[in-house]
Symmetry: C2
Subunit: 202 residues, 2 copies
């Protein structure tokens, strides 16, 4: 009996993972407002009503996707923390990872403006906890890098943090790729260079 229950739960869990993966891609490619619950259901291959049995609202769908990428980010931070390199190299690696996720079409882009989604996320404990954790761990590297003279110490640490977050959804990367003059790796390196070294010559 317990075996069957466990099996069924695994099936449900797999289904939910498929839903989240689909939501993640739609959020990445068209954003929250343009994404419709109908197309998510169609993409997963289930009825819309079934989808609502798993997640009570469209906002919860998006929140689940955000929690997913934040967990992936936390896993990357763990792995990265084990590398014995300077703090700024950790930050560069994080930025590169975020850009790679974006290029893979798996970086959900939230509306930075006010919307029903933002208010929902601000009351979502699982989301907020993960954002806080990621921010604290990045913040530690930022202040360490500033103390070591690797990051401009005149910049407020939050400014550095916000800038890194913003680059994860930077529209410059897709534009450069659409231009076609640069390979994916070259486009990534260009965005990374402008982020850390700026536009001006050194």
């Amino acid at each position: 009996m317990t075996e069957r229950r466990s099996f069924r739960q695994q099936v449900l869990r797999a289904r939910e993972d498929a839903i989240i993966a689909s939501v993640n891609r739609f959020l990445a490619e068209k954003g929250f407002e343009a994404m419709t619950v109908d197309e998510v259901a169609a993409d997963v291959g289930i009825a819309k009503a079934s989808l609502y049995k798993h997640f009570p609202s469209k906002e919860e769908l998006a929140a689940a996707a955000m929690v997913g990428v934040l967990d992936r980010a936390l896993a990357f931070l763990d792995q990265e923390a084990a590398r014995p390199v300077a703090p700024i190299e950790h930050l560069r690696a994080v930025a590169r990872w975020m850009l790679q996720v974006q290029m893979a079409g798996e970086m959900p882009s939230l509306p930075s403006q006010n919307s029903t989604l933002r208010t929902a996320l601000m009351q979502h404990r699982g989301y907020l906890d993960r954002v806080m954790t990621v921010s604290e761990r990045l913040g530690a590297w930022i202040t360490a890098a500033q103390a070591a003279g690797e990051i401009n110490p005149k910049l407020p640490p939050e400014a550095v943090l916000y800038t890194l977050y913003a680059r994860a959804c930077d529209p410059v990367l897709p534009f450069l790729r659409a231009g076609g003059a640069l390979s994916d790796e070259q486009a990534l390196e260009v965005v990374l260079a402008t982020c850390f070294d700026g536009l001006a010559a050194r």
Copy 2:
């Protein structure tokens, strides 16, 4: 008779300017999808049907607002070109101007992702012409600055151009202002510094 016609046309022109100004603010604060034609009409103080006598669609409303800011940009470029400074200083001034427009709540932010608006704009001659003109004039300063060793010559000029455009709608600025730790001028200077000088120490 001609006087009365001229007068009435002036009234209509003023009304359309008021509409565009309202659209501009809504596009800046909530974006195209979240903006509704109803609230624009209510904000201007006319009926929705009247609004549709001036502009045939929601996309045309947004296009008119974009043409408006591009004309303001072109006027600024004219004024800036008269200053006898190095090319990079022109670019810095342009970036500062864009951030000021954004802080004033008058920088409409288009969805960088696919949408009905982007396809409409891509067929809008007045919009395309102005974008091309602005891009060419910025492009001249960019290549000049690279030739003078002021802008990193390794960066593709389009990458510099896209980066400047992207900073006009950078979410980092509103986030820094919302934090409250920095004054508006300080937040602007921080964003400007990260754009041109990067996060890394020099």
